[in-house]
C-alpha cells in the first residue's frame, strides 16, 4: 500500500533555572543524573549513560557489570549552545548501526535561566526498518505483523 505516514518530529521545550553552560554540562556530562533508569538497553542493570564530549564521540550505556551498549553517537558538539546526537535505537530498543535518527538539543539564555529545546527527527527511518522487518517475515503492509504482535502480547 502506498499510503505512508511521515511522522512529525517530536519537539519538547523546557525552561531551566540555571545558566546556559551549566545546563549544557548537566545534560551531557551529568546525563547519569537524569536519564530515566527504567530505559536500560542490553541485559545488564543500568549503571549510567555516557556522552563522550566531542564530535564523533560515542553515546552509550554502561551496565553495573561493566558491559557497554551503544545508543548512538555525537554528530555535533557545540558547547554551551548546541548538541546534535544520533539516536540509533530501533523501536525494540536495540542498537542498529544502519539506523540514524537525530536528536538536536539547543540551550538559549533566557531571563534568569536557559531555554532548552529538544527535537527528535527523522522518525520515519524507524518505520523503514520496521517495514523491512515486516517484509522479511512475509507480512504485506505490516498488517500481519500487527496481529502477530497482538496475539503474542496477549498470550503473555
Amino acid at each position: 500500500m502506498s499510503t505512508q505516514i511521515r511522522p512529525a518530529p517530536v519537539k519538547r521545550s523546557i525552561f531551566v533555572h540555571a545558566p546556559q553552560a551549566h545546563a549544557f554540562e548537566v545534560f551531557t556530562d551529568g546525563i547519569g543524573l537524569w536519564w530515566p533508569k527504567t530505559h536500560a538497553i542490553g541485559d545488564a542493570e543500568l549503571d549510567k549513560p555516557v556522552i563522550e564530549p566531542r564530535e564523533g564521540g560515542r553515546w552509550y550505556q554502561r551496565g553495573v557489570d561493566g558491559s557497554e551498549c551503544d545508543i548512538g553517537k555525537v554528530l555535533a558538539w557545540n558547547p554551551p549552545s548546541r548538541l546534535l546526537l544520533a539516536w540509533q535505537l530501533d523501536p525494540d530498543w536495540n542498537f542498529n548501526a544502519d539506523l540514524v535518527t537525530e536528536v538536536e538539543v539547543t540551550f538559549m539564555p533566557e531571563g534568569n535561566g536557559t531555554r532548552v529545546d529538544l527535537e527528535h527527527r527523522y522518525l520515519e527511518r524507524m518505520g523503514d526498518r520496521a517495514e523491512e522487518m515486516a517484509e522479511k517475515v512475509g507480512s504485506p503492509g505490516g498488517w500481519t505483523a500487527v496481529l502477530q504482535l497482538y496475539s503474542e502480547a496477549s498470550e503473555k
Binding site: 511522522p7 517530536v10 545558566p19 551549566h22 523501536p91 522518525l123 518505520g127 497482538y150
Partner: protein, 110 residues
C-alpha cells in the same frame, strides 16, 4: 501507557478489530466502515479515534469526507511513545540541573 500496552488495549475490543479488518483492503470513509457492523456510526468514529491514538490507523480529508487507512508501520505509536519519553526525561533533567545549580550557588556564597 507503553507502546505495546496501547496497541494491546486498542486491539482488545472485537469491534475495533472488525473496524481494522474493514481497512485491510484499502482506505475507507466512516460510513463504509460502519456498514455491516452492529454498532452506530458515532461508536465507529470513537473506535477509529482509539485506533488512531494507538498509531494503528491514520486519516486524511478527501473533499468533505474523512478517509481512514491502516498505518502500515505503526509509527504513530512509536512517535507517541518517544514524545512521552522525552517529556519525562526533560522533566528529570530540569530537576537535576536546578539542584546542581543550587549547590554551586551555595558554594559561591560561602
Amino acid at each position: 501507557m507503553t507502546n505495546a500496552a496501547r496497541l494491546i488495549s486498542a486491539l482488545a475490543d472485537p469491534t475495533r478489530r472488525a473496524v481494522l479488518e474493514k481497512l485491510k483492503d484499502g482506505p475507507r470513509p466512516v460510513g463504509e466502515i460502519a456498514r455491516g457492523l452492529p454498532v452506530t456510526r458515532p461508536a465507529v468514529s470513537q473506535h477509529l479515534k482509539v485506533l488512531k491514538d494507538a498509531g494503528l490507523v491514520a486519516d486524511r480529508s478527501v473533499g468533505t469526507r474523512r478517509i481512514y487507512y491502516i498505518d502500515p508501520r505503526g509509527l504513530g505509536a512509536m512517535r507517541a511513545w518517544l514524545d512521552q519519553f522525552w517529556e519525562a526525561a526533560l522533566d528529570a533533567f530540569k530537576l537535576a540541573a536546578e539542584a546542581e545549580a543550587k549547590k554551586t550557588n551555595k558554594k559561591e556564597g560561602e
